[in-house]
Subunit: 234 residues, 2 copies
């Protein structure tokens, strides 16, 4: 007996310093978070990994596939509480906050997520855990799905809009305060004869952008959950 399977498998593991799909996905995630979709190119990604550009194509079929993988990774970051722990309503609230936080951490997501369906393992697992949560609430059959996707859609919608503003600020190269006051000034001129917009503008202009977004988010989510609660089977 020259060598056991154990030593054999052990030796086969490192083999050669080599790229791995996980490595590539993680590097792509970093680039996306830092520079957005426009900042991600296969050549730059390869350079970051110290390899040739086309080497990536052995581990990943196309750039789009790579993005699919990164997207699924983000879904893995979302918490879905189990209904026993918190009850469905506060569970849904926590779920919403976790999903929103994830999207804000990955502001490139809205730009790519609507060009493909998400069927990766993390996405489906999220869906499954979501269904458990909303299933426990006691909705009628099909309302379980409707309830869950309502909440997800609402959260995506609000977070996406928030992301749009954030990227705009970042691209402008200004501070948030500068940008806000610029936009407000611009708006003031544009709507000189629009009393309704002026009122809204006055309401917004003294408030911090981030806290306003937070308040708006929980306001709408509360409303939606209120509405959902009345649909629960008595």
């Amino acid at each position: 007996m020259k060598e056991s399977i154990w030593t054999r498998t052990r030796a086969a593991a490192p083999a050669r310093e080599t790229l791995s799909r996980e490595q590539i996905v993680q590097a792509a995630m970093e680039t996306l978070d830092a520079e957005g979709v426009a900042g991600l190119s296969m050549r730059k990604l390869a350079a970051k990994l110290g390899s040739g550009a086309t080497s990536l194509y052995w581990h990943v079929q196309t750039k789009d596939d790579l993005i699919d993988l990164v997207i699924d990774e983000t879904y893995g970051e979302v918490d879905v509480p189990e209904p026993e722990l918190a009850g469905w309503r506060s569970g849904a609230m926590l779920f919403g906050h976790s999903l929103r936080a994830m999207i804000l951490r990955h502001p490139w997501l809205p730009e790519v997520v609507y060009t493909r369906p998400s069927l990766g393992p993390n996405a489906t697992s999220l869906g499954s855990r979501g269904l458990v949560l909303f299933g426990a609430a006691g909705f009628a059959e099909r309302d379980v799905d409707f309830a869950m996707s309502s909440v997800m859609s609402y959260v995506f919608g609000t977070a996406n809009a928030e992301v749009a503003i954030r990227t705009a600020i970042q691209n402008s190269g200004q501070t948030t305060e500068e940008w806000v006051s610029d936009v407000l000034e611009q708006a003031r001129v544009a709507i000189a004869d629009d009393t309704e917009m002026q009122k809204s503008l006055r309401r917004r202009s003294n408030r911090d952008l981030a806290t306003m977004h937070n308040e708006a988010f929980v306001f709408g989510l509360d409303c939606l959950l209120d509405g959902l609660e009345t649909r629960v089977k008595k």
Copy 2:
């Protein structure tokens, strides 16, 4: 008298066969609707208009600016009923349906709309009319803005998700039925040990995709509006 001012101005009007910004925007809209963002290139657009590629840059500063213009055009297609006509609640319902229909007509929108803020004339006018509508409901000061953006976010969220599925089907080259049954089969395998997902799957599998989306949309919107209604000042 050889020619009056009338004939002169008449002659001066066309001046020379020339591109116009409106023409370009409209052609870009057509291409986007038909082929999506990936199908729009300045060269192809110019060819469609029978002009040189770089000629477009006299009328439009960059491709991104052009897309901004097209986006604003789409906002112009959204109906916002006046509150006197329908009351705020059914007005909001109509608004939601109109916005959703607009997004479904322009499935490329989600892909580009979250990388920039929308401050064009049609976008701001939509915002203004929206504020009139929700302002008439009788919300407390800041809740007017919150209510409106909740509804918009929800509608965007649902419509975007719908768009994602539609594009996926289109890209697959299959019919909707083929695609659905393929995905269901794929899902069935993936979730062999997940009873919650299986229940959901069984619920979905017999239903037409489009009507399911419609039902889900009005279900969630109704819930949200129910919740909003309880926030109206008494």
